[in-house]
Every structure is written in C-alpha cells, then in structure tokens.
Symmetry: C2
Subunit: 308 residues, 2 copies
C-alpha cells in the first residue's frame, strides 16, 4: 500500500487571508489537535513582518506553545533573513521559502522581481547553512492569473537552481487553481525524473473544481506528498472568485477510499474539520465534513418494511 | 482528439428537488439556451405522476414548447407504462428508465422491490417495441447510502438483463457520491469489455468532492459519455448533506482544458450557468461560473510598474 504524506497549511495559508484575527490559543489548540490526526507535516505559521500579515503576528508565541508530537514535522514560512533568524530561534523542523515562477505574480505578490526573490532566498539558504532542511514553494507553477501560461521549462529552471543550492524539497503550487490533470501528469512525471533526490510536493487549489482530479493525476504519476488545508480554507487575493486550497480531509478521504495509506485518523480529522466554521466564523468549502464518509451508512425509512 | 458527449440533466434531476415551482417558460427558455451550447443530449423532464413530482407536472407542455435543435437528443424519464404512453406522444428522442441496484434504495426511492421494478421496466421496453431508443439508469451502482457496498457483480447482472432486452444504453449512477476513482476505473473497464455494443454513460455526484476525479478516472478508462447538471444542481433526498450532481460546466471546462473535444461553446455555457441562481432563487455549487475559466486573465495591479 503506497504511503501518502499530507502537509496541512490551514493555520498559515488558510488563516492568512481571514478578515478577523484568530486568537493565539485557538491556533495552538487547532495545531495540537491536528498533530493527533496523523499529518506528516503542519505549516504552523509565517515569520513574516507582523505589519504585512497581522494574522500571523503571534508566530513566536504559537511555535512556543504548541505541543510537538514525534513524527510530525512543524514547518514555517520564511520570507527573508530576518524571518530565518526568528525561525531558527523557534526551532522549526523545516523552513518553507516561497517565490513565484511568473514575473508578474512575483511582482504583485512579493513586490520584487523573480531574480531579486531568488537572490534573497539563496541568501537565506546560505545563512541557514544546513542547520534546518529547506523546502521551496514555487507559486503559479501551473499558470499565472495575470500572465497566463507559465512554461514548464521556466518552472524546471527554478527547480534546478534551488536543487543546486541543496534544498531538501520543492512544492509545486497551483496558486490560483488553473492546473488541469493532463498538465499535472506531465509536470509530475518530468520533475520526478529530473529531481529524484528531492521531496516533491504538489499544492493544489480547488478554484475551478479540479483539485481532487489533480491530486488523482499526481498520485497516478507517483507523487506521494501533498499540501492541503483543513476545510479547504485559503485562496489568493490576486485570483478573484477563487475558492481556496484543496480540503485536506476531502483529499485524504478520497485517497483512503482508493486504498492508499494516508496514515490519518479520518474520524478525528473530520471532527476537527467540523469545528473549523466556529473558529473562523463562517462556513468552509470542505465537503466530507458535511456529507460524511462514503462508508457512513444512513437508516432506511420505516415504510420500506411494508413493501417487501 | 477524443470526442466527449455530455447529457445535461438539470431540468429533470436538478429541478426535481427544488422547493419552489419553476415556471414552464423558464424551463423552456433554459432548455432552448442549452440546445445552443453543444450538449449531445438534454434530459428535459419526467413523465411521472404530477402528484409524485409536482415540479415536473408540465412535462407535456415543456416538450411541446422547446425548440429542438438537430444533433441534440431530447430524452425524458419514463417510470412506467403510463409514462411511456405520454412520452411517445411527446416524441422524445430517447426514454430513460430508472431503477436501483440496491434493494433498500429501490424500496426507499421507488417503493417496490428491484424485481418488481425490473418487471415493470421490461414491460415498458416491450410496449415501446423499438419505436424509441431506451436508456437504463442504474442508481446506487457505486454504493448505497443505506446498505453500503453494492457488489459490481450485482450491477453487471442488471446490465446484462437489460442488454438482453435490447436497450441502447446504460447509465451507471453514483446517486449519492460514494464512488472513488479506483472503483470507477474498475467498473468502467469491466463494463466496456462486457457491453461493447452499448452506449455507456457515467453519472457522478460531487457529494464528497470526488466528482471530477471520478470523471477523470472514467475518461482515462475510455468512457466518453457523461451526465452532468448545469450549476451542479440536484442531489438525493436519501443522502443527507449531499451536494448534487457534478456541474456540467466544471466537468466540461476540465476536459476541454485537458484537450478533449467536448463539442461545447464554453463561454455560452458559463453565461447560462451564471443565470441559474436567478432561476432557482439560490446560489449553486458550480465553480467555474464563479471563478472564470483557467484561461481567463486578470489585470495586474498598477503598482508593479514601479517595481521593475
């Protein structure tokens, strides 16, 4: 049975665009509960400027208060050198560095050119100097909402440049839900051939309903690592109408039903997903938490006994 | 380029569980607009008892008023002999006969045993006597929300019995969204091998987010015919929490992006999907109508020009 590894990004990528501050205690409680569900990795927070993302201004506090479970990796987003210092102090298990493969999206989102981003991240990698494993998340790898197509060659060039700097893993991000399964198959096969030494993770959004179809295409191609967000929270401010990351529990439910070993306690995971609307104050897109697992049975109506 | 054929069921399967009557004129206008979008087939209405489903009490009127476009098949649901008489008078292009492969679901939904249903439908087929092609929709073929697993052998036995009666096509229905892609692959491959002479259609629901992943699995296995519902309307009263049929436009958008020939005018289809909330008086699950196609571009923010 193939083992699949999930990284839940709800408290970072998901919460980041929520309008109302989520109390530190709620974040810690949620992460501690997720740690009990079997996630391979949890993206806890971001060591970005508190002014840029006030929601994550409590990064140090959250990292200090969570109860770390052996076997779960606690990763954090690190945007720059200052973030790397803070992240090192917080003893995160992995640093996640982000840039876009589309020039326009990088300018719009990170307010600098791709080359400036690359140089900055290379500096961070040098500074960390192997003390903590580095993962690189490459945004808009399946298309940019402003530029359109991002050639696979461009994505692979950035993969190569980061591989040359000694990173442990690459996350290929469909930031605004533009990927289709044919494209995912092509990308997954090529990257695994070219970077067999790296941990390759796929990060899909369900913006246009293709999220789980893309997971299927990736897993058929041999990919075993996925990002997901509890409840399907998240999205991208530069993609109007976007409906967010794939729901971790919906993707895990599908792969489990197909016979993959997700390592997850699914009933616990669904209980947790069902608490999420109360934490964020609105309903969330994930569907299995609403409909129940496909193996959950319902009572038959009484009247059928008179029909037999 | 593989040609894919879509049958939209929104005005029958979708409208059937809407709480408020949709005026005949709205139904006719919607069907006429769908006829212009490139659907291979449209399930217009059901010749069931007006008392059982008041929403479709205007079946004759709708069939009489729609403007039939050459190349589009207009199919109708026929539950029994009385329905077949009415459907023959309406000059439908195809009769769609329905029963469940799960005994409990058939009792709950059709209020008779499967054997009684089969006998009744066999009578209808005999009565129609080749004047109109017959399609059989087999419900709960991927699982029953009350019984659980429905063995593939049971589904195939019903397929065989109907094939022996000379039907033209079979629709294999995941009535409450329990199917997973591994199961779909197995079913699709087996049925195509056993019934190469029949038109095989897959009918998926997106109850647990797996709808488009199941479409992908089916199309990879060689299936080229799908049911869908504009906006993703529909569902099943016996599956609490269920979120409805797959959205025709979301499935078509995915297959088109992958390079399949869907024969559809997608901008027209999305315009139509965007009118649906007004017709039914509430929002609908389809996502591409909200987010736009993956090839739709958005303007970059002004500030990026100062950053270069």
């Amino acid at each position: 049975m193939t083992r699949i590894y999930f990284n839940d990004v709800v408290t970072r990528d998901g919460f980041q665009i929520e309008p109302n501050f989520i109390p530190t205690e709620d974040k810690v409680r949620l992460i501690d509960a997720m740690s009990q569900c079997g996630f391979a990795k949890i993206e806890v927070t971001s060591f970005t400027s508190p002014k840029a993302i006030p929601m994550l201004r409590d990064a140090e506090e959250v990292m200090g208060k969570i109860h770390r479970v052996p076997g779960v990796e606690y990763t954090v987003l690190v945007p720059n050198l200052r973030g790397a210092e803070r992240a090192l102090e917080s003893r995160a298990d992995e640093f996640n560095l982000v840039m876009s493969t589309s020039e326009t999206h990088n300018l719009a989102n990170l307010r600098m050119t791709r080359e400036k981003s690359f140089a900055g991240l290379a500096e961070v990698i040098k500074y960390v100097d192997g003390k903590t494993p580095i993962n690189i998340s490459l945004s808009t790898a399946f298309g940019c909402p402003m530029e359109g197509d991002v050639p696979q060659e461009v994505v692979e060039q950035f993969c190569q440049r980061f591989a040359d700097l000694g990173v442990r893993g690459l996350t290929i991000c469909d930031t605004t839900g533009m990927a289709n399964p044919a494209q995912v198959t092509k990308m997954s096969e090529s990257l695994q051939k070219k970077f067999p030494q790296l941990q390759l993770t796929m990060h899909f959004h369900n913006t246009r309903g293709m999220g789980l179809a893309n997971v299927l295409a990736a897993v058929q191609s041999g990919i075993v690592r996925f990002d997901g967000s509890l409840g399907g929270l998240g999205g991208c401010p530069y993609a109007p109408g976007a409906s967010g990351n794939i729901s971790s529990e919906d993707a895990i439910h599908m792969l489990d039903a197909m016979g993959y070993d997700t390592g997850m306690n699914i009933p616990k995971l669904l209980d947790l997903a069902r608490e999420l609307p109360q934490i964020v104050g609105h309903s969330v897109p994930g569907q299995v938490a609403k409909a129940g697992r496909s193996c959950d049975l319902h009572p038959a109506p009484e009247y059928i006994h008179d029909l037999k």
